[in-house]
Symmetry: C2
Subunit: 384 residues, 2 copies
């Protein structure tokens, strides 16, 4: 555990600003992690990510297992070497992906059988096999294999999945413990994060958080099963509950959540790490975050607009290019457009978390949040 | 004319190394110009181009006229400002594009009527209208509107097109002369390049080169209608003929030619500037130039290949990424793969021309060419 350290520098109510140290360097928290599903943050170069201030990124065990194969990544020296990213990396466990394969998977106590979305081949994930995949990938933080359910699931369904996730956590931890005693092949240390499940049911979330907390001395904690179809107030309410139960001195990672307003609300509720495909996926669809809300760059109103995407932004797109130019790139299906909007949107979230850290330091997180949200939500989102 | 200057530093037979000065900076020749069809070199960022040493790039009048419209580019401050490229730019005249619209265009002495490949709308290009389009785009070098024919055309067809191109050159020059007397709107000076046509017929090429040469004090000369279906020996033979007729003290631009072996052969025959979509188009298809010939990165033999694309290359792809990683990007349809191979291929040609300059300086262009071609052509091209 000594290869990881989390230090809180500033407390401001539930919110906090800190530093999460990993074997591949530091992460100033709160932080947004860009998603590199297939060992690349879509449309971006690792140099783009470094230049915009990204510190930690994410890879997907499910996708990398299928392509190029976690065995290939291992043979190439692990994910850091393979994708030329020497900063911290976190891999998810594929739980979210296999449970999204509605109709193509069967859950049992042992694990999940599923068919690949690529070729329909039959595959199986167990807590043990997923740990081996994540070991091959070699990320700094590896997530447990968990049972993910839809956001609106009833209490019985949520309890079943939450309790199964706890049993699977124990099996993940046992598998990881076996490696630690394996001295034949020294590898970079990896921190296993448990995941708190429980749907939108407060008592289940409270029980899950306590069980996870009491089951080991974890480096950090995942909060899963949110932003999967439930209403936003439900998500915020659950975050408040979980915040009260998890140890204050460890980082909390809210999985798959990444709209600007959700990041702000999450920070206020003690979340330290976020990830989401939203900035890159929306960017490839022509949507840009701005301080005044989202805009759709394809709209004809931007045809000769000389302004940058966001006049408050200093990213590599806004420093150089007009809305008119980026609109033209989208109209003409030019690849550079996909890169510029992806870059802008990731920069927007990375900078948002930097601003949140500053507000925390100044003890003004509530006032800052209110002002930020009021401006961001003040204008109607342009149609997309 | 004083805004442009061409200085030859080293002569080595027909080959020469020099500097072409333009209002937007210098171009060390011989040089390869990457093609930015729609105001972007496909899949690349202007910063990529600067970093790999590109000095001059190209835009297409036909494509930019249709999207976003040359009026939009003008309103945005011209092509340099619009695409954030402050180095020299050349625009072609659309001649090649409209004559490629087989069945969708009608040629008359006045110009060409054609249907847009985008929406079928009826359009017309005349020498005068094309000059106005290229004025709106604002490139440093603008090409005359010419009549392009297939590479295997018979002598009568080639004579007709060549003579029409000469008459259109006079109309282009008249149109440009009108702007020069228009003092109401000062703009960056633009150099009009004539284009030598004549197919693969030596007497026609000789006559065209002489007529062009005698018709004005041109800043530089385009050589058109090559690499359009004729055999390579025919192209080289015609280059020898044209080299003997054009003034030695002006740059010669061989239009649309850009395979590595053609660049080497062109340099030996007194060509100074080249352009081609090959490096980016082939890159997007997974083909990479290497010193030992082309390779197709999608092949399974590269699955765990830790070597860079080309072990002799120092581009931003080869410095950081393995063949295995780039193969994975292509297998997974990731955008970064398109960028890395485009970047590598453009870098390859830019560096090839830098090496040719060095060989010229050393007076070893023939030995260098033979050695370079022998190695490049020694291995069979991998199937694509």
């Amino acid at each position: 555990m000594s290869d990881f350290r989390f230090t809180i520098h500033d407390d401001d109510g539930a919110a906090r600003a800190g530093v999460f140290l990993t074997p591949h360097g530091r992460v100033d928290t709160p932080a947004f992690m860009a998603v590199g599903t297939l060992a690349t943050v879509k449309a971006l170069d690792p140099d783009d990510l470094r230049a915009l201030g990204a510190q930690m990124i994410l890879g997907n065990a499910y996708h990398l297992h299928l392509r190029p194969g976690d065995d290939v990544v291992r043979e190439m020296g692990g994910l850091h070497a393979f994708m030329a990213w020497d900063g911290p990396i976190l891999t998810d466990s594929g739980g979210f992906q296999v449970f999204s394969l509605e109709g193509l998977r069967t859950v049992s106590e042992d694990g999940v059988e599923f068919r690949s979305h690529l070729d329909g081949s039959l595959r199986a994930f167990t807590p043990e096999s997923v740990m081996r995949i994540e070991r091959n990938l070699g990320a700094d933080v590896i997530m447990q294999f968990d049972h993910v359910i839809p956001g609106q699931s009833d209490e019985a369904t949520a309890r079943d999945a939450s309790e199964r996730s706890l049993r699977w956590l124990a099996r993940c931890a046992d598998e990881v413990a076996r490696w630690r005693s394996d001295t034949d092949e020294p590898r970079s240390p990896q921190a296993l994060f448990p995941i708190v499940q429980g749907g939108i049911h407060e008592s289940l979330r409270r029980a899950a958080a306590r069980s996870v907390r009491d089951s080991g001395d974890w480096v950090g904690y995942g909060i899963g099963g949110l932003s999967v179809g439930e209403a936003k107030p439900d998500m915020y309410r659950i975050l408040d509950v979980v915040d009260g139960e998890l140890p204050r001195d460890r980082p909390r990672y809210l999985m798959g959540v990444g709209f600007p307003e959700d990041l702000v609300e999450g920070v206020r509720r003690g979340v330290d790490l976020f990830d989401c495909v939203a900035p890159t996926r929306m960017g490839r669809n022509g949507a840009a975050f701005t301080r005044d809300g989202r805009l759709n760059i394809k709209r004809s109103e931007f045809r000769v607009d000389k302004r940058p995407l966001d006049e408050d932004c200093d990213c590599a797109a806004c420093r150089r290019f007009s809305r008119a130019y980026i609109r033209h790139l989208f109209t003409a299906d030019e690849i550079l457009g996909l890169r510029l909007l992806s870059l802008h949107n990731v920069h927007f979230l990375v900078r948002l978390m930097r601003d949140a850290r500053d507000a925390n330091r100044g003890g003004t997180i509530d006032a800052w949040s209110e002002e930020w949200l009021a401006r961001y939500l003040s204008r109607p989102v342009t149609s997309e």
